[in-house]
Subunit: 414 residues, 2 copies
């Protein structure tokens, strides 16, 4: 047994989350792709079967009330809320991340417009029109595409900016920025951006901050309420293990909810959805972010998956501590096993700047990942040259990490 | 045995679809609410279990390719296509009906705008600006709410018009109408609108026709291709039995697809979704209507449910013939059992104007439906005064119909 193997054994033995692994369906594959699709929690199939056979099959239409289907979007939102540092009543689940980015950005621009209209006389005349959206230039593409559409449909211009340059970009534009769309963790590099400081900078410029939490929720503390984030969205199939394409969520800060003016005001967001009124009157609270009939099977699989967070010892703090230990250890093992220069980590060394993944730049990354997968180490490849390894602390152990680094080194050796 | 019971028995004995009932999970409840939530096809739980346990649990991320998850939206769209009279390659499944109404209407307005820009010189100058959307004034509310948002975001005005008055409304406006959103079957009354004639009228005025098929698909012939419909949307949890909140679909006529300019251009609609490009370039064909990551559990439950349409003897024509026989027979039984004047059918007598439901106006409709449900006859209530009974020919029989009318009469007698 090598030194690193011995250390892995010690780390696993001391891991307070080690027992949680048993709550997931895993096999002899080393699964480091939970940042793309989380593994299956072992109790989920039984719960889904009950939803299908009993709730749908036997109760049928009655389940909308009796099985709590109707209120699932906000009930499950309240389960996600503490994981992203939000008090209850501010998160609603439904639709895809892309659709939620659209809702959040358009609503943010409308809030900025409304700010421009309030206040009287000279104050109002001197206020610049807010007609610009800033978007993270390194964003996962869908956020940029949707931001472009939101800008087009609200008469704004869209300006891609590297997150670090957001404060100076805001200053440049002299108060014309309406909203800023940022990623908490970069999907490619795994870089964790400074949510508190960037949110403060956006607010100082009088704009609204919309955060995409896809790669942070369930992996590290977010602190939406604490840092005064305005709106946020995220997916649930990565570190929250909700299953393939499980619905995304939308956070609207409580004091902004009365001003949340949705571009997708479907009947589920109506104050009286079964009143069948031809005039739209929005619901108050988080349900205002709903649109159409929720996809119950996917939603309730997610609800079941979230039970893992009620296990003894499981908390965002514990997950974050283990996540950093896992990524530290992976970088150490890669450093020890892989010849210098063969790969280059594009994930920051500093803990304050690191999410829960390690991204290694590497020639032939696509081919290397293919071989890794054939050898039972599953990460993923992001064009043009990145090997991504995601570390879900709920089910990844230190021996997995050491083994993955060893197989990577062997694969790179050819 | 009464005369009507005897006739019911004969009709059931002669019903070519009678055996299909055995493909569904049913019990001693008389379920006449399939126009709200279709019953569970018996083979669906096993298929969902395979999706959860094997595809998600064992194959995990590999299922995006190996289990055909990635292509499910258009593959399942091609299963729905023949049921709505569409050739393959024009229907894509995903998102809610509300979200698809938004995509379709905004895209229709943009096509009309584009028409206004093409053609040269004097012709162009004489052409009116198309800045109005007509919407069915009796529509299920969400279509109206979303149409209002689409109008607001495209700089159009929205004008609610009764479907029968659409031709005159189009003429009134002298070519200013960009798009018309109509329901094939009215959700409340069960009235079937004249899709061929209304579509032709919309086209004659140079506008685009968007049809909502929620209450017709799977119950009667639609003929999208035959009648030259431009865009259409529909849900899948009513007569298609896809399960609670199963995803909706979007039809874009093939020759319009290159001009389909989505307001929700998520990464799933990109020509090269894994290219991770910052510039948006739309996919060709039906996938252009996709947005974000599809909700696989709900989608694949729907795919399984559609297998019922491959059973011997099952066709839209057979379903339509039985549907009309069922609603005819229900109206006959109600006429025989319920005292004159106690209820009034708001569903048209003429077959050409009838969907697959019967709506009875009735005092205390809410209370009456509650009692009916307690007695094991499940329909639903729509404010303020309508009892709705939906007849899904795949699993409702004539004895059900006679029994439901008998229980209704008993309930109304107090």
């Amino acid at each position: 047994m090598s030194e690193l193997q011995r250390i892995a054994e010690e780390l696993d033995a001391a891991d307070p989350l080690a027992a949680v692994r048993g709550k997931f369906v895993l096999d002899d594959v080393t699964y480091l792709d939970g940042n793309s699709l989380g593994a299956l929690p072992a109790h989920v199939p039984g719960r889904v079967e009950d939803v299908v056979r009993r709730q749908w099959g036997e109760l049928r239409i009655r389940s909308w009330e009796e099985s709590g289907w109707w209120t699932a979007p906000e009930r499950i939102g309240d389960r996600i809320a503490p994981l992203v540092g939000a008090a209850a009543g501010q998160v609603v689940v439904g639709d895809s991340t892309s659709v939620n980015v659209f809702k959040a950005l358009v609503a943010a621009v409308r809030m900025a417009e409304q700010d421009g209209r309030t206040g009287g006389g000279s104050e109002r005349r001197n206020r610049p029109v807010r007609d610009e959206i800033l978007v993270d230039a390194t964003t996962f593409p869908t956020d940029g595409y949707i931001a472009e559409s939101a800008a087009r449909m609200t008469g704004c211009t869209l300006r891609p900016v590297a997150p670090a340059e957001v404060p100076s970009a805001l200053a440049d534009r002299g108060g014309r920025t309406a909203a800023v769309l940022l990623n908490h963790v970069d999907y490619r590099t795994g870089r964790l951006h400074d949510l508190p400081a960037l949110t403060a900078a956006v607010h100082a410029a009088g704009a609204y901050a919309v955060w995409d939490l896809c790669h942070s929720a369930g992996a590290l503390p977010v602190g939406l309420d604490e840092h005064g984030v305005d709106l946020a969205v995220g997916c649930t199939y990565k570190y929250l293990n909700g299953g393939p394409g499980s619905p995304a969520y939308l956070y609207v800060r409580r004091d902004l909810q009365p001003r949340f003016d949705s571009p997708l005001p479907g009947w589920n967001s109506h104050a009286e959805p079964f009143g069948m009124r031809s005039d739209y009157a929005p619901a108050s609270g988080a349900p205002r972010g709903r649109v159409g009939t929720p996809d119950i099977l996917s939603l309730l699989a997610l609800e079941a998956a979230l039970d893992v967070w009620d296990e003894e010892g499981v908390s965002v703090a514990a997950v974050r501590a283990k996540s950093l230990a896992l990524t530290d250890f992976f970088l150490r093992c890669v450093g020890a096993y892989v010849p210098d220069g063969r790969v280059e980590s594009v994930t920051p060394e500093a803990h304050a700047e690191r999410g829960s993944q390690v991204a290694l730049r590497c020639e032939d990354a696509g081919e290397v990942m293919k071989q890794l997968i054939e050898r039972g180490v599953v990460g993923d490849y992001r064009a043009p040259d990145v090997l991504r390894f995601g570390f879900t602390p709920l089910y990844v152990g230190f021996a997995d990490v050491e083994w993955a680094a060893r197989v990577l080194a062997r694969t790179l050796a050819g």
